[in-house]
């Protein structure tokens, strides 16, 4: 587990991070969400040791994080970068070797990764000759080629077409399933919502919310339910402890003071006719995001 504690950083007089504290757990995908300039990139750079923090500590599995452990990190910077005139496979082999792989092992890793990401046929093309989408895939490959135990990806999905997003998502999920800790930031809240197990929300350099996605959603949700049934739900308005939010014949959205009240509504609806759907309404990530920042 990667744990950040009270990381603080300012650039001159401008504060960038203020006592940032959160954890990235093993085998889980952690979404890192925040507006532009919120401090995501700075936090990630500090994690990677590319920048130094002014104060605060980072621990990996309980030990202070050092250069040696960072060698086993995979990083994809926000602004993409690989050598434009170097062949894709060569760059991957080079990067893996910089991380301590032998040539042979680096070559094997690069080959299997290129296949996995659908770049097998372009392995000997220069980066600049690839389409933008494929350049993005190559970039992902660059962060994965040394089998990192911790992955830090800054906006890994920006610029990807939906098909490439799926390929990359699959690759990341697989790494997480194999035990890697994955921290990724994204502006695309739907993707984060779909993908992440844990969530960290940052605004103006401070962490506004962090924890398991479902717990956060529950925490930020009103006790709201949606029900749909074959009969008219007009009687709902008269129910005690229930506030109707939206109503349209057989469809209604309501807030219940306590779960028992909602269950009472469900029982009555079932006795009146067929209920086709009944579900608590969880706040979407976008709602939580707007609420906390």
């Amino acid at each position: 587990m990667l744990q950040l504690d009270n990381i603080t950083k300012s650039f001159g007089a401008r504060p960038a991070l203020n006592r940032v504290t959160f954890a990235v757990r093993d085998g889980r995908m952690t979404g890192f969400v925040g507006g532009n300039g919120a401090g995501k990139t700075t936090a990630m750079r500090i994690l990677l040791g590319v920048l130094n923090s002014d104060a605060g500590e980072i621990h990996l599995d309980g030990k202070p994080l050092g250069a040696e452990q960072r060698r086993r990190f995979g990083y994809m910077p926000e602004e993409r970068g690989l050598y434009p005139k170097m062949k894709v496979r060569e760059q991957l082999v080079y990067l893996a070797r910089l991380h301590g792989f032998t040539s042979a092992a680096a070559g094997r890793n690069a080959d299997s990764l290129l296949e996995e990401l659908g770049l097998g046929e372009r392995r000997d093309s220069t980066l600049e000759s690839l389409s933008l989408g494929n350049q993005q895939r190559a970039q992902i490959a660059a962060s994965l080629v040394h089998d990192p135990e911790v992955l830090v990806l800054d906006e890994p999905f920006s610029g990807l077409d939906p098909l490439a997003v799926d390929t990359v998502v699959e690759a990341l999920k697989q790494r997480a399933a194999a035990g890697a800790s994955v921290l990724f930031s994204s502006h695309q809240l739907e993707i984060v919502e779909r993908l992440c197990d844990d969530l960290v929300i940052i605004a103006e350099g401070s962490i506004r919310a962090s924890g398991e996605r479902e717990a956060l959603r529950a925490q930020h949700s009103a006790p709201r339910y949606a029900i749909e049934c074959s009969t008219d739900l007009g009687w709902l308005r008269a129910e005690p402890d229930i506030t109707v939010v939206e109503f349209d014949g057989g469809h209604a959205t309501f807030d219940a003071v306590e779960p028992a009240a909602a269950q009472r509504v469900l029982r009555r609806a079932v006795s009146d006719g067929d209920v086709t759907s009944f579900a608590p309404q969880r706040a979407s990530l976008a709602q939580i995001f707007r609420e906390v920042i």
């Binding site: 750079r45 990677l48 040791g49 590319v50 920048l51 250069a67 040696e68 960072r70 060698r71 990190f73 990083y75 994809m76 910077p77 602004e79 993409r80 970068g81 690989l82 050598y83 434009p84 005139k85 170097m86 080079y94 990067l95 070797r97 910089l98 991380h99 301590g100 792989f101 032998t102 042979a104 092992a105 890793n109 660059a142 962060s143 040394h146 089998d147 194999a178 035990g179």
Partner: protein, 368 residues
């Protein structure tokens, strides 16, 4: 994953440097423009050597003065343009004036050899070999290597240092900017220490420059011996070796500075402005050597100033005006300066690498 964990061993600092250097070298060797420039440089050297060979052979007649009593001695030597003089004094005047290359006069009484050859700084070989007896040789000004030769040597050392500096220096700066511009530098920085990154770049490109200079030196030496200009070779030999030594350290000095100024900008377009001061450090010694090579004081100063020493000191050795300890002191000075430049360069490099956008100011780059 276990198989891969065993395949991975954290690379040492030297291994990281070697990897970076290796990439620099292979990238350069694949670049067409680099190969073409090197080819042209080698061709120029080869051309110069061959031209020198042809010129030295094409001198059809050697003007020689002879005292009338010895005229018969020269009658069966080809390729001489003979001027008959009355006495030794008149012959010496002609030699000093440069009207003739050498004069043949009777030896003073009591000498073992009856014939003496007088020349300015060296005797024409055709004359020396043609005489039936091995004559006594009197050189009027033995230390004075001919002006043309010294000019060519000055020009040669200068242009080689200039060409290498101007080829590899900006190349290093560009390769630093490329990594910054494409932002791969962030990935690299997360993998290896910044100092290893810079050291790899400086060493990789320096090795290439050394290979180029050694190729030039070998080509020149082989060329000179093949074209029968071995005398020039013996004159050039030791200074040439010193030049290689000075060049190596001088080049590292420049390479560190170029890497540093490259790190200060984020786009190739902005490179010109930060690179100018370092480019000047190559240009000024070049022009100074060409224009001031016959001014002993200026040359002596230049042979100690670290930026011009790689050209100035070999030049003085070639002219024979430097004592044996002088190149050593100059080399130590250069070594210290290079060490300081590497430290300074590493500092600027370190402070500037992640600063993107406008050019990093000198104060920012130095203070961090």
């Amino acid at each position: 994953m276990n198989a891969n964990t065993t395949a991975r061993r954290s690379p040492s600092f030297t291994q990281s440097v070697a990897l970076v250097a290796e990439r620099e070298i292979t990238t350069r060797l694949r670049s067409k423009s680099f190969l073409i420039t090197t080819g042209i440089l080698l061709l120029l050297v080869l051309g110069g050597v061959i031209a020198g060979g042809i010129m030295s052979k094409n001198v059809s007649t050697t003007p020689v003065a002879v005292v009338s009593s010895l005229e018969s001695e020269l009658s069966n030597i080809d390729g001489l343009e003979i001027t008959i003089v009355e006495n030794r004094a008149e012959a010496e005047d002609l030699v000093t004036a440069g009207t003739v290359e050498a004069a043949v006069v009777p030896s003073a009484d009591g000498a073992t050899v009856p014939v003496t050859v007088i020349a300015e700084s060296e005797a024409p070989s055709s004359l020396m070999q043609g005489l039936s007896v091995s004559p006594e040789l009197v050189l009027l000004d033995p230390s004075d290597t001919s002006f043309l030769l010294s000019y060519l040597a000055a020009f040669g050392f200068g242009i080689i240092f200039f060409a290498s500096g101007m080829t590899f220096g900006p190349m290093i700066a560009q390769s630093v900017v490329e990594e910054k511009q494409t932002r791969i530098v962030e990935i690299l920085m997360s993998a290896v220490p910044v100092s290893a990154l810079m050291a790899g770049k400086v060493i990789g490109n320096s090795l290439l420059a050394f290979a180029q200079i050694i190729a030039i030196a070998v080509l020149a030496i082989v060329g000179l011996s093949v074209t029968g200009q071995a005398e020039l070779l013996t004159l050039l030999g030791a200074p040439l070796l010193w030049f290689v030594g000075f060049f190596i350290i001088g080049f590292i000095l420049l390479a560190a500075l170029f890497a540093a100024v490259g790190a200060m900008v984020s786009r190739q377009e902005d490179l010109g402005s930060t690179m100018t001061p370092v480019t000047m450090l190559i240009m000024l010694p070049y022009f100074a050597i060409i224009f001031l090579h016959d001014n002993p004081v200026a040359l002596a100063i230049m042979s100690y100033v670290p930026f011009s020493a790689p050209v100035g000191m070999p030049m003085r050795l070639f002219l024979g005006t430097a004592a044996w300890w002088e190149p050593l002191i100059s080399l130590v000075l250069l070594l210290i300066t290079a060490g300081l430049a590497v430290l300074l360069g590493a500092r600027i490099y370190n402070n500037s690498l992640l600063k993107v956008g406008s050019r990093v100011s000198w104060s920012q780059a130095l203070k961090g």
